[in-house]
Structure formats: structure tokens, C-alpha cells
């Protein structure tokens, strides 16, 4: 019998680093129980979920200084992961708040027990994904969040569109993760390890067959690409975003994308670039495959397709789906440079993207609840029918375009700076051209709100103060972050180093 004392010590330490996730599990179970006990309370599990998220947030604050490799290398806790976890947690909290006021959900159900429970489960999966440093863990975490989101995207199951979305999502997701697992198996065969650190170390010491490594890498990219909606793995995105309840669409477009980016970055950092250095601003790619170029091509494809097709959309949710594809493309540019500055840029971008995108979706939700339509036409004269909503949506769209003085400008600025300073001027130019194209379709909405169908402006749309407060909660930071973003940048710079040493 071997001595298991070192293992138990390690396990106890790991458990301490696992408190936020544990809190999520407890929340999941409590919400499940609460839902069974108080059957009359429509939002009881929602309140539990929100409370659980707040507790998780407190625990995350406690963890701010923790860095370490836990559970025998399954999970890494570092500043980078914690930043992404904040993005996930904040967006989940906001989406729960959106759900409280969603007419779409309440028309269908008197109780929403499973809805909030599954959101907690999804957040748990995403938390795991941000730290996962083992291929099995990555697969497991992706499946955990995916299975929750398959169900959630079809949650309004009496709606045909939602059911269709759910079905497409599950099939596409299953194939993507199947392809990814196959890629994992090839990587395992090449290096004999499932541990990302060990894979990196092995690749550095041995030269392996390039073709195989490329195939494995691309198959794995298909899995990550599916999560972050990168072209050509994006096909599920528009249909699922359109069909799913808008609250879930919002969550998918921000949180699940953030988790996907985190896993992808960590994977590239640990497995495909040289490890063993604590502070290494420029990562050195192992082997002779030019991953910079591969990722840059994906970035160009992603943002170009997203923007060009978005021009043709008349459904707001679908348009925002393509816009979210385009934004994934902008962020992929910063992935392609594969260095710490790029990571910082992505973190900044994600934080701003979270606020502005959730804001846009919130307004889509509000308008759909009031007018019963997600069509662009429903926004005609909105600027006069509900001035505050009109102004807020304008702010969000300008921010999504990336014009100053909004948060979106700062995100884009940092991404472009990181790309240019890494020497990829052509990539930045493509990015800027794409931004110009995106102006067309974002401005189209603003034009509809202010310059079209002014006759029908008679019917005012009013919202409760709570709803307006929620809108302002997102619109004001969008503007403030456009001017005062020092703390965000400092935080991102603090979090940009992905733990890469053993």
C-alpha cells in the first residue's frame, strides 16, 4: 500500500481552491430542492441562483490571490481564469435578472425551476472549462455546459422555433465535440499524455509528425471553434440564437463564448507554446506549424463572414448572432498573435463586449415583449416611442461598432494595438475594414429608430422603473468604460499571464 498522505494533503489544498465551484454545486442542489418544496413560488430557484452567484462572487474575491495547479493537474487556478470567471458570473447574474422580467418565459410557464437550475449547471461547466488543463477535463467541462445549453435553448419547448434550435444545437454540438475528442485521441497518441503541461513538454523535447499534429490541432480547433462560433464551425450559431429564448441567447453569446476562449487560450498556451517560464510575454510556438497563421486565417474568415451576412438580416436576434460571430473574429485576431498582450486585449474586449452585447440583447428582449416582434421593422420610431430605450440601444450599437467614446472602442483599440505591435498589420487592416462594414448594419437599426416611420410614434412604450434601471445599469458603464477604463486595463494586465510552469 502506498502512502496516501501527500495525496490527501494535495486534495485538501485543491478543495480550498475549489470553493467557488463548490458553491455553485451547492447552489444547484439547493435550487433543485427549493423548487421541489415551494412549488407555488415561480422564481424561487431564480432567487436561489442569484444568491448563489453572489456568494460565488464573494468567494472569487477571496481567491483573487490564489494561483496554483490543483487536483493532480486537472484544474489550474490563476488570475487569467478568475478574470474570465468574473465575466461568466456577471453575465449569468445579469441574465438571471433579465429572466425575472422576461415575458417570453412567463407566457409559457408558471414555474421556471429547471431553467434557473440549468443556468447554474451551465455556469459550473463554464467555470470548470476556464481552469481545465487536462484533455479529459476540457471535454467534460464542454459537455457539462453544452448539455445545459442544449436544454436551455429549447426551454420554451412549446415554441416550434425553440425546439428546432435545441435539436440543431444538440446534433451540431455532438458532432463537434466528437470531432474534438477524436483530435484529443490523436494528440494523446502523439504525446502519450492527456495533461496539457506534459503535452507541451513532450512536444518541446521530441519532434513529432507535423501532419498528424496539424490534423489533431484542427480537429481540436473545431471543438473550440464551435464554442466560440468561429467560421467554419459557426453554422449552428444563427439558428440557435434566433430560436432560443433571448435570455439564453444572451448568455450563449457572452458567457459560453468567454469560456470557450479561455479554454482555447489555455490549450494553446500550455500545449502548443513553450512552457517552463513564469513570465514570458511572447510565447514561443513549438514545432514548425505556424499556428499564428492558422488562427489569423480563422479570424479573417470569422469576422468577414459574420459582418457580410449580418448586412442581410432583418431579425434583430439573427443580426446580433452574426454580429457575435464577427466579434469572435476580432478577438481571434488577438489570439492569433499568441502573446500576453493579446491575452490582455481579449480580456479587455470580453469585459466590454459583455456589457454592450448583453445590453443589446436586453433591449431586443424588452422590445419583443412589448411589440411581439424581433423584426427590424419593430424598431421603427422606437427612439420616440421610448426615448431612453432608444438612446440606450444607440449607445450599445455604437459600442458594438467600436466608435468612441464607448467601451467597444476601448476593446477594439486594445485588440488592434496588440495585433499591430505583434507585426500583423495586414490583419489589423482587415479588422478595420470589417468594422467599417459593420457600421452599415448597426446604423441601420439606429436609422430605423430615429428616422423611419415617424407617424406611428403616437403609441408610447413605457417600462417600469426597475426595467429602465436595468437598462441604465448596462448603458452607463458602456459609456463610462469608454472614458475611464484604467482599472479594467490594470486588471487585465494583471491577469494576462496564463500559468504555464509546472
Amino acid at each position: 500500500m502506498t502512502d496516501i498522505t501527500p495525496f490527501t494533503t494535495h486534495l485538501l489544498q485543491s478543495m480550498q481552491a475549489f470553493v467557488p465551484e463548490t458553491a455553485l454545486i451547492v447552489t444547484f442542489l439547493l435550487a433543485l430542492a427549493a423548487d421541489l418544496i415551494w412549488k407555488k413560488q415561480r422564481h424561487i430557484s431564480g432567487y436561489m441562483a442569484l444568491a448563489g452567484f453572489i456568494v460565488t462572487g464573494f468567494l472569487l474575491v477571496q481567491q483573487q490571490s490564489v494561483t496554483g495547479i490543483t487536483f493532480s493537474g486537472m484544474l489550474v487556478i490563476d488570475h487569467f481564469g478568475i478574470f474570465i470567471k468574473w465575466v461568466i458570473l456577471l453575465s449569468a447574474m445579469l441574465v438571471v435578472l433579465f429572466s425575472f422580467i422576461s415575458g417570453e418565459l412567463h407566457q409559457a410557464y408558471t414555474r421556471l425551476g429547471e431553467y434557473y437550475i440549468l443556468i447554474v449547471g451551465m455556469v459550473f461547466g463554464m467555470f470548470l472549462l476556464t481552469g481545465a488543463s487536462n484533455l479529459v477535463m476540457i471535454y467534460l467541462a464542454i459537455e457539462t455546459m453544452s448539455i445545459s445549453s442544449y436544454i436551455l435553448s429549447g426551454y420554451t419547448k412549446f415554441v416550434r422555433r425553440a425546439s428546432e434550435a435545441s435539436m440543431k444545437y444538440v446534433i451540431y454540438g455532438a458532432v463537434s465535440s466528437g470531432v474534438m475528442v477524436y483530435g484529443f485521441s490523436l494528440l494523446f497518441g502523439l504525446t502519450g499524455s492527456l495533461q496539457l503541461h506534459d503535452i507541451g513538454a513532450y512536444l518541446q523535447q521530441h519532434s513529432v509528425d507535423n501532419l498528424t499534429l496539424l490534423m489533431a490541432g484542427i480537429m481540436i480547433l473545431a471543438g473550440f471553434g464551435y464554442k466560440i462560433s468561429a467560421v467554419p464551425f459557426h453554422y449552428w450559431t444563427p439558428d440557435v440564437y434566433e430560436g432560443a429564448p433571448v435570455t439564453i441567447t444572451a448568455l450563449l453569446s457572452v458567457a459560453s463564448k468567454a469560456a470557450g476562449f479561455a479554454a482555447m487560450l489555455r490549450f494553446f498556451r500550455l500545449a502548443f507554446t513553450a512552457p517552463f517560464t513564469a513570465v514570458d510575454a511572447d510565447w514561443t510556438v513549438i514545432g514548425s506549424i505556424d499556428w499564428h497563421f492558422v488562427l489569423a486565417v480563422l479570424a479573417v474568415l470569422t469576422m468577414t463572414l459574420g459582418n457580410l451576412v449580418a448586412l442581410w438580416q432583418s431579425n434583430m436576434k439573427r443580426m446580433l448572432a452574426y454580429s457575435s460571430i464577427a466579434h469572435a473574429g476580432y478577438m481571434l485576431m488577438a489570439v492569433a498573435v499568441l502573446n500576453d498582450t493579446g491575452v490582455a486585449a481579449i480580456l479587455i474586449y470580453f469585459f466590454t463586449y459583455m456589457i454592450m452585447n448583453l445590453g443589446a440583447f436586453l433591449i431586443v428582449q424588452l422590445v419583443a415583449d412589448k411589440t411581439g416582434s424581433e423584426d427590424l421593422e419593430a424598431y421603427s420610431g422606437l427612439g420616440y416611442r421610448s426615448p431612453l430605450i432608444g438612446v440606450a440601444l444607440t449607445v450599445f450599437l455604437i459600442s458594438l461598432t467600436g466608435l468612441p467614446p464607448t467601451a467597444g472602442f476601448i476593446g477594439k483599440l486594445y485588440v488592434f494595438t496588440s495585433v499591430i505591435s505583434a507585426g500583423y498589420v495586414w490583419l489589423a487592416i482587415v479588422g478595420v475594414l470589417n468594422s467599417v462594414v459593420s457600421l452599415y448594419y448597426y446604423v441601420r437599426v439606429i436609422r430605423n429608430m430615429y428616422l423611419r416611420d415617424v407617424e406611428s410614434q403616437g403609441s408610447k412604450i413605457t417600462f417600469t422603473p426597475a426595467v429602465l434601471a436595468l437598462v441604465l445599469l448596462l448603458a452607463v458603464p458602456t459609456l463610462i468604460l469608454g472614458i475611464w477604463f484604467g482599472p479594467l486595463v490594470d486588471w487585465a494586465n494583471l491577469s494576462m499571464a496564463i500559468t504555464a510552469f509546472h
Binding site: L135, V136, Y139, L140, E143, I147, Y150, I151, G154, K157, R160, R161, S163, E164, A165, S166, M167, K168, V170, I171, A174, V175, G178, V179, V181, Y182, F184, S185, L186, F188, G189, G192, S193, L194, P238, D239, E242, G243, W312, R318
Partner: protein, 102 residues
């Protein structure tokens, strides 16, 4: 000829492709799910074969265990979703479930 690693890998590659063919070509959603199972099994054969020929590296077998667990969970959820589709469309032919497009 000695049965080596590559024999298993070829089986796995063929099974993987068969699974994909099934996913792409069958109308009936349940058959698509069967194709998916083949894909995952192909990956599993890889894991186990690499484990065996990589010096009995148990990581591969453990990975296979997890893939099996997840395949089960995924199948359960996918079938539940298909039942729901059946409620709406009275069939589960994937090529006729295409209301949302472009």
C-alpha cells in the same frame, strides 16, 4: 502479419468516417444519433489502442471511460430533445426541420 497499432487506428478511422456518413446522410434523427455513437466509439478505440501500445498508459483507458459516460448523457438529452421535436413536427426527419435559415 503482427497486429499493430496502425491496424486499430485504421479501424477507428473507418468507423469514424462511417459515423460521419451516417450523421450526414440519414433523415431520421435517431439514426443520426447512432452515427454519433459510432464517432465516439471510434475515438475510444484510438484511446484504448494508444494506451495499449504506449506502454499500457492507463490515461487512455480512463479517457475512454469518460467518453462512454458522456456519450450516455448526451444520448439521453438528445433523445429527449427529439421527443420534443416529434411533438411539434410529428416526425423527426432532420431535413424537414429547417424553418430558420439564411
Amino acid at each position: 502479419m503482427e497486429i499493430g497499432l496502425s491496424h486499430y487506428l485504421i479501424i477507428s478511422a473507418l468507423l469514424f468516417s462511417l459515423g460521419l456518413y451516417g450523421v450526414i446522410s440519414r433523415k431520421h434523427a435517431v439514426m443520426v444519433l447512432m452515427g454519433l455513437e459510432l464517432i465516439l466509439n471510434a475515438a475510444n478505440i484510438n484511446f484504448v489502442a494508444f494506451a495499449r501500445f504506449g506502454g499500457m498508459n492507463m490515461d487512455g483507458q480512463v479517457a475512454a471511460v469518460f467518453v462512454i459516460i458522456l456519450a450516455a448523457a448526451e444520448a439521453a438529452v438528445a433523445l429527449a430533445i427529439l421527443l420534443n421535436i416529434y411533438q411539434h413536427f410529428k416526425h423527426v426527419n432532420l431535413d424537414e426541420v429547417d424553418q430558420m435559415k439564411e
